[in-house]
């Protein structure tokens, strides 16, 4: 059995700066995207239970295959990594990411694909669904738990929707994006970092992948204007009475937040 985890070598919005004209400078620092270690951890737990191989897959700019980048991801518990690093992917759209991931995954014969809740930079939560569409399998977002029973289903997942918890049984392949509740993240120690150096890493370039058979996007989005968002003035209200909680709730309801 094989489990794949897709992760992103991403910039952190906290390190980004925005010019007066609205252009974003993401800076040079990159890390494994904030929510992806949860997906890797969920994959590690499932892989240990089922003696599966856990494969980390990422697609990104050239630094995604740097020793620091692959060690950082591998130390989270991956058995091996596949990295497509190409500076053509610096500002890739979600469907471009998804198509490159699909080109890799179509040849891997994995049983389950895991993803984090969202990428730290754009946070659009779109790639798992787009990838699912390209692979012709279902995707499920905001999943709180993934387990592997012994009998009727390959995987059982739980998620919260509209005030209800739903348990789904899955027979066959699927893509599952997990929430941060899905697994606690262990601290990474020196032993993990040393072991990570020995994990096999396959580095590929875009021209080595086969995109034939994947749908090509044919919509066009042309940038007309970019500007900084207008920040709403702060309310400057402090609730400090004995009924502060009730007052806060009332105020949030009045603003339409709750």
């Amino acid at each position: 059995m094989k489990i794949a985890v897709i992760y992103k070598w991403a910039p952190d919005p906290q390190n980004a700066s925005v010019s007066e004209s609205g252009e974003i400078d993401w800076g040079t620092k990159r890390t494994v995207s904030e929510y992806d270690p949860v997906a890797i951890r969920v994959g590690r737990i499932l892989a240990d239970e089922t003696e599966a191989e856990l494969i980390g897959i990422t697609v990104g700019e050239k630094t995604a295959s740097s020793p620091k980048a692959v060690q950082s991801a591998a130390s989270r518990g991956l058995d091996r990594l596949i990295v497509v690093s190409d500076d053509e992917l610096v500002s890739a759209t979600p469907e471009r990411y998804a198509s490159v991931l699909a080109a890799i995954l179509r040849n891997l014969d994995v049983d389950l694909i895991l993803a984090g809740d969202a990428s730290a930079d754009n946070g659009g939560k779109a790639v798992p669904g787009l990838l699912a569409g390209l692979l012709g399998i279902p995707s499920f977002g905001e999943v709180d738990s993934v387990s592997r029973p012994n009998a009727e289903y390959d995987f059982i997942i739980t998620r919260k929707l509209n005030g209800k918890q739903q348990k789904l049984g899955i027979k066959g392949r699927a893509i599952i994006a997990v929430t941060t509740d899905a697994a606690p993240i262990p601290l990474i120690g020196m032993k993990d970092m040393m072991a990570a150096r020995k994990k096999p890493v396959e580095v590929l370039e875009l021209n080595e992948l086969n995109f034939q058979g994947l749908p090509q996007t044919h919509g066009i989005a042309t940038l007309e204007n970019v500007h900084k968002p207008v920040l709403k003035p702060r309310k400057q209200i402090v609730f400090d009475s004995d009924s502060a909680v009730a007052e806060l709730i009332a105020a949030l309801k009045e603003e339409g937040v709750l």
Binding site: P13, A16, V18, G22, E23, I24, T93, P94, E95, A98, N122, G123, G124, K125, A126, P128, G129, L130, L131, A132, G133, L134, G136, I137, P138, S139, F140, G141, E142, Y153, K160, L161, N162, G163, K164, Q165, Q166, K167, L168, G169, I170, K171, G172, R173, A174, P215, Q216, T217, H218, G219, I220, A221, T222, L223, E224, N225, V226, H227, K228, P229
Partner: protein, 177 residues
């Protein structure tokens, strides 16, 4: 231009209608209760795909439907189910996906989107595109044309039946939290 809302998560469908515009139509993947709640939504029409079980099972069928009606804009509410459906459908159709959309103007076919809350881009779109929108107040009071269709009817009507997945997904339980 053909603008469609794809909707399965009943709680947010009505709210999305206002953002999509009165010329839009809804592909509703849900039960009759949801249809009843939407029967006076301010949209041009509602196509009802009666569904039981997880809506994600119907992504292939929805894509086949949108291919047949040559949908140019596919909009979903920003929740896990509708987003999964819409992205999966967009990929099958080769529609361009626009992340972070915050508003849509159907007349000028422009989308405003936020990049990580840092900046706002205005995009003019052409050809098939998809995005999720934040929801607002329900927009009811219309008289949409309502049509019921079956998955088999959709799949039979197209030559290429690659849309469906072999994966089987079933709801095992639901409980209040």
């Amino acid at each position: 231009m053909s603008t469609w809302i794809i909707a399965a998560n009943q709680t947010q469908i009505g709210e999305l209608v206002a953002a999509a515009g009165s010329e839009a139509s809804i592909l509703l993947i849900a039960d009759d209760v949801a249809l009843n709640e939407l029967k006076d939504a301010t949209v041009a029409s509602i196509v009802h795909l009666p569904a039981s079980g997880p809506a994600e099972n119907f992504a292939g069928v929805a894509a086949a439907f949108f291919a047949e009606v040559t949908a140019q804009t596919i909009i979903a509410a920003d929740n896990a189910i509708d987003r999964s459906l819409a992205t999966s459908v967009a990929a099958r159709l080769g529609a361009t996906w626009i992340s972070g959309a915050i508003s849509w103007d159907g007349d000028s076919r422009t989308v405003n989107r936020s990049i990580a809350g840092l900046t706002i881009e205005t995009l003019k779109v052409d050809g098939p595109v998809g995005f999720v929108l934040p929801t607002s107040s329900p927009a009811l009071g219309g008289t949409p044309e309502i049509k019921k269709i079956s998955p088999a009817e959709i799949l039979d009507s197209i030559e290429n039946n690659f849309w469906n997945s072999d994966t089987v997904v079933e709801v095992l339980s639901e409980s209040e939290v």
